[in-house]
Amino acid sequence: MLSRVANSIYWLGRYLERAENYARFIDVNFNLMLDLPPDLKEQWEPLVFATGDQELYKSKYDSFERKDVIYFLTFESENPNSIISSISSARENARVIRENLTKETWEKLNELYHFIKNRSTKKNWFKDSPHQFFEDIKNQILLLYGLGESTVARTDGWYFRQLGLYLERADKTSRIVDVKYHILLPSPSLVGSPLDFLHWTALLKSVTAFNTYRRLYGNIEPAKVVSLLLLNKYFPRSVFYCLVEAENCLNKISGDSDGKMNSAQRAIGALRAKLEFDDVNDIISKGLHEYLDDLQLKINTISDCINDNFFQIKDNFISQNQMQE
């Protein structure tokens, strides 16, 4: 398949997943804030920190008000990672490779774009609870996933899209775990308190893992939550699971090449193997935040390697640089 097309499909996969995760994060945080005791201030700052766009945010706003943060993460077109930017970019990428997508995929994505765009121009976008809106976004993206699942041929294009999706999801899951690091409890004595419990529950819900967690692990304990979200073999949003899937896609794309591995395969294999043997108690005792930072850097390196191996065959080829720091 054309390098330019592969590049666009890969980013299409990443942007859709990015938008879906954002919709999930905001929705869950919104619900969490409704559950807080009345004397506690709402915490929206951690969400902005988790996305890595705090510098841009601070240049536009003085404080982390609910309405501002939601607007910034959803409709702010200057924020390259906001939902509207991600969906626009997904659509732009789809538009340049429309001939490679099924008609339904293009049409549904186009509808999603117009849906968000219309909403963004409404003055009263925040009048009622935004829950339904984020629910709609999630549903429409899941519809696109379902369409892919049941209509797209498993050729290179499919694997590039899935590769983008799983790398993005690995990155986003690691970031949502990091939110917990940024959320401050009013005092250390509250560790293990109902408030702490609420936070961990919300975290699990952000990645639709709450019920799975209950079934597999039982009581809420921080180490176990981290273990599920980072290291679990079976949960489809855990970082480990995503890396295994991404590695499979990469192997399909790379083909046999006489048993030789390319740099992207080596980078992802190394990270996957590391997670396979990491112990959650070690991770926590050495510092969860540092561990997650390192993880995100390594995922970025993998994406760079993919770019070098498959998308940059010609000198004048314009690459997309859409990493999140």
């Binding site: 340049v96 490779i97 001939e99 049409e107 117009h114 065959i313 080829f317």
Partner: protein, 475 residues
């Protein structure tokens, strides 16, 4: 919906006679809309436009990098063409495209028609569209213009006239195809009952034609697009998708040893046939316009070496110049020894003294056109222009007579069109599509462009035009 107040103007109306009687081929349609409430009609119109947006059936506005997208308004009243009328058009178009193809082959090779003085030598050889690098060229299978979208209009008596030949890369065929899909939903029973010839196999025919151009058994085919900012990008990707071939842009292609390759994730892959949707002079900066960033350096050399087929061939533009147009009836006589089946609009060539004198004298009644401008630009519609404009164009003509032609003001036919004030007649033209491969194939359908503004004769999408689905009947 009521049609009793429908006003038939001075011009030929496709649905109603001067006396206000419905023409036979529209009678079933009339029955249908009489049963349909105005509210329902508006709703059908609304749904049609909404579907267009959902399909992303949009064109980009020129010189606008903000990605402003507009739809080409699709009116839900179809233009219906009876079978016999179509047969006549089909025969005329085949004849014309055959002659034009022989003409192109001649002027780039033996130049017999020029030597015999049938077409003035300087008109061709001095034209900026006469591409010197193409001299001596023998395109694959001897075909120059593979895809043509001829524009026709009808005069007051209903007689069809050829307006323009469009031999470069005519656009709009995707609208013909998608419009039919949308309009089908509005009149599912009627289409069936009337027997409307399908157009949906166009991409299959196009693919077959492109495959025919290569001697390989399974040639690799690509559609060459200038990219996403081109106004017809929707169409390029649509056709590539429908044919199941690659959509490529200049950055995807390189030429090595006079062969053309695509850059893929698994290395280079040779490409055998290109359906190019960029201007011929932008195709290859080495052979033509050195400033072109869209093209592929070395493409023309590969073409000349016979390693790739290109449709349409470079150099075809010279034959759809508005002055050369005037000579097409003589070409038909010269090459085929036949009388033209379809007439030209009478054309005055300002380069010829007698004609020029007539044009300067009667400019108020004429339409003056620049010979090499497209899209309704550089044009004067005499009866609608001011005295200052008349003077301005008289001067322009005197300064550069070769650049202008004039034609009588056309009386474009009208078709009822849904407006805010109910059904009203709006002027239309007709663009059928012709494929030239192992035989000449006129697709039984067309893009009907409609001037949505009351009284307007300009149907171009860039200037307030819309479109209609065109139904060619089986019987």
């Amino acid at each position: 919906m009521n049609t009793e107040n429908y006003h038939v103007g001075e011009n030929f109306d496709e649905m109603f006679t001067e006396e206000g009687h419905c023409r036979a081929h529209y009678s079933e349609f009339l029955k249908q809309i009489k049963k349909t409430s105005p509210k329902r009609m508006s709703h059908l119109q609304f749904s049609a436009n909404k579907t267009q947006i959902a399909m992303g059936m949009t064109f980009n506005v020129y010189h606008d990098n903000q990605g402003t997208e507009k739809i080409l308004h699709l009116d839900i009243v179809p233009r219906i063409i009876p079978h016999e009328e179509w047969k006549h058009l089909e025969a005329g178009l085949k004849q014309r495209i055959q002659a034009l193809n022989l003409f192109l082959d001649d002027i780039y090779n033996d130049q017999k028609i020029l030597k015999d003085g049938v077409v003035p030598e300087d008109l061709i050889l001095k034209s900026k569209d006469y591409l010197k690098p193409c001299i001596g060229l023998k395109p694959p299978k001897g075909i120059w213009c593979h895809i043509t979208g001829t524009d026709l209009v009808r005069d007051k008596s209903g007689e069809y006239y050829i307006l323009e030949d469009n031999l470069r890369c005519p656009s709009g065929v995707s609208y013909m195809l998608e419009s039919r899909e949308i309009i089908k939903r509005a009149y599912p029973d009627l289409i069936n009952q009337l027997g409307v010839m399908p157009v949906s196999d166009y991409p299959v025919k196009l693919l077959k034609m492109l495959q025919f151009l290569s001697d390989k058994e399974n040639p690799v085919i690509g559609v060459l697009t200038p990219g996403i900012y081109n106004s017809a990008y929707f169409e390029h990707s649509y056709l590539a998708l429908q044919m199941g071939v690659e959509l490529v842009s200049g950055v995807d292609l390189i030429v090595k040893d006079k062969k053309v390759y695509m850059q893929t994730t698994k290395g280079l892959e040779q490409i055998d046939v290109l359906y190019r949707r960029i201007d011929d002079t932008f195709m290859d900066p080495l052979a033509f316009n050195p400033d072109s960033l869209l093209g592929v350096p070395g493409l023309f050399e590969a073409y000349k070496a016979g390693n790739i087929a290109i449709a349409n061939a470079p150099g075809t533009g010279v034959a759809d110049d508005k002055a050369v147009y005037a000579y097409v009836p003589r070409m038909i006589k010269y090459y085929l020894d036949q009388d033209p089946i379809l007439n030209n609009v009478p054309t005055y060539l300002c380069r010829e003294e007698e004609d020029r004198a007539y044009v300067l004298e009667n400019i108020e009644q004429l339409v003056v056109k620049e010979t090499n401008a497209a899209g309704g630009y550089g044009m004067l519609i005499g009866p609608k222009a001011t005295v200052e404009d008349h003077a301005k164009f008289r001067n322009l003509i005197k300064q550069n007579p070769d650049n202008y032609i004039a034609q009588p003001t056309l009386s474009l036919s009208t078709v009822p069109t849904l407006t805010d004030e109910g059904l009203q007649g709006r002027h239309v033209d007709l663009r059928p599509y012709i494929l030239y491969g192992d035989d000449i194939n006129v697709i039984p359908g067309a893009l009907t462009r409609v001037a949505l503004k009351k009284g307007s004769l300009v149907v171009n999408s860039s200037q307030g035009g819309g479109s209609k689905d065109t139904w060619v009947l089986y019987r």
